[in-house]
Amino acid sequence: MDNVITRALTNLGHRVTSRIRRLGFASRFFAMTLVYSGTALKRFNLTIREIYFTGVLSLIIILVSGLFVGMVLGLQGYDTLQRYGSSEALGILVALSLVRELGPVVAALLFASRAGSAITAEIGLMKATEQLSAMEMMAVNPIARVVAPRFWAGIISMPLLAALFSAMGIFGGYLVGVQLIGVDEGSFWSQMQASVDFREDIVNGVIKSFVFGVVVTWIAVFEGYDSEPTAEGVSGATTRTVVTSSLAILAADFVLTAFMFRGV
């Protein structure tokens, strides 16, 4: 019995220390990525190329999802608001929901599944096929040449994608609310303009999407770089990127929201 308890405690201790060690390595990796970002910023064409792969190629899923989320918001929002006779406020509801919350969060979740998983798989496969080792042996630092451009591309792309998601969502809400249901077009736009505050709503939404961009891309590049160089290892790392990023986005969203809107 004593043996079983000792073994269980040893296993638990081993798991905890290995998690802490991995977190420490991830933090060191983050610091090294920042230190070696000179190449990514000096040779910005490397980063632009990655912006195409992470940002531009994510546009379709972001725009289509944004449109549908906005259309659903239009339907649900109208159904609730018309009970209180304030269906003209539909524009405010759609815009604030998207700009403050749904835009950054849903765009980041989609970004993690589409671009984050692709980044992890690509770096993981580069490691498995010794491309990263080859780079090291050619006196080229893989963190500077491979990781940093992808990291900055993710950070730059994420707020832009979130803004496009929100814009498409507002357009979806307009299509359903104004064109389909018949809410007054003037009220829809004027109330939205009057109620959405640039600093409180827009800037805070951009800050959120920037933070999510950092979190998702950091997790994606780290999981790829730290993956086991086997098919199973890369597959596991890709799954971990999506799961960990999604949880991190939701947790960070709560913390940021608590700080940003506590006085409202």
Binding site: T129, E130, Q131, S133, M137, M138, A139, V140, R145
Partner: protein
């Protein structure tokens, strides 16, 4: 073996997770020579290459390249040294998102400020040397195994290195590609005035091109000599390896309990 040493390995020990991988290794690789490190899979050959390239640090002993102790160098010093080394990885390790041309141009673009038209000329010269000038537009996915290995070789010699390391250059190649790679290793070493270290278990092909051989087994050097010495050797391990015998000092059977104990009726089969 005569000649000024380019690589010197003295009393090298390397352990991984407390398990000894290399024990008491002493090697010399002279300038302008082709030296092979042979041995069965997992005996520590590739580890030796990684120690020479500074990707691993020895537990004790030292590795000197061009008079510099590799593991004492800082990052900048190590990267400066690596610019004078080339390495051919087992399956080429070509960058899959770049064309053949861009793969070979990679180091020239990263480490020099040469104008693009000069880089183009240099890349074409390197590709011509490996017989693939006409394939410069192809992507790595369009190449056969042998072609990929030759492109990787052109990339490894892009900066005219003083030391070229080959990790299993013959693995998985058809006889024609195998002989082309063997010939290229010999001719490029001479043309560049470089030294070559070939890690391989392909005995017959490598004995045709090497000046000296180190045989490694279980992390120790068990035999060394010229190609002729190795062919004539009567050391049991070398004999088994060179002539490809299934049983010998390297047993056919994985360690197991007595055969009779496992197959006789009434005994536990999984004991």
């Amino acid at each position: 073996m005569s000649g000024e040493p380019l690589v010197e390995i003295r009393n090298l020990n390397f352990s991984y997770d407390g398990r000894p991988v290399l024990t008491g290794i002493n090697m010399v690789i002279p300038r302008g020579k082709v030296v092979a490190i042979m041995g069965q899979s997992g005996c520590g050959k590739t580890t030796t290459l990684r120690l020479i390239g500074g990707q691993l640090k020895p537990t004790s002993g030292h590795v000197k390249v061009a008079g510099q102790v590799v593991h004492d160098l800082d990052d900048d010093g190590l990267y400066r040294l690596r610019r004078r080394m080339g390495m051919l990885f087992q399956f080429g390790a070509l960058f899959t998102d770049m064309s053949v041309f861009d793969n070979v141009a990679f180091q020239l673009r990263e480490h020099t400020d040469l104008p693009e038209d000069l880089i183009r000329d240099l890349v074409m010269m390197k590709l011509h040397a490996v017989g693939l000038r006409g394939a410069h537009r192809l992507m790595p996915s369009e190449l056969s195994g042998g072609m990929a290995r030759r492109v990787a070789l052109a990339r490894a010699i892009a900066l005219d290195p003083m030391l070229i390391m080959y990790d299993e250059p013959f693995a998985g190649l058809d006889p024609i590609s195998l002989s082309i790679i063997g010939e290229l290793i010999r001719t490029l070493t001479q043309a560049l005035g470089a030294s070559s270290v070939v890690v391989t278990h392909d005995v017959q092909e490598s004995l045709k091109i090497v000046d000296y051989v180190y045989f490694v087994s279980a992390g120790r050097i068990v035999a060394e000599g010229t190609a002729e010495d190795i062919r004539r050797s009567d050391a049991p391990y070398v004999h088994q390896f060179v002539w490809g015998e299934a049983d010998g000092p390297v047993p056919f059977q994985y360690p197991a309990p007595a055969y009779a104990d496992q197959i006789l009726p009434g005994r536990a089969l999984h004991g």
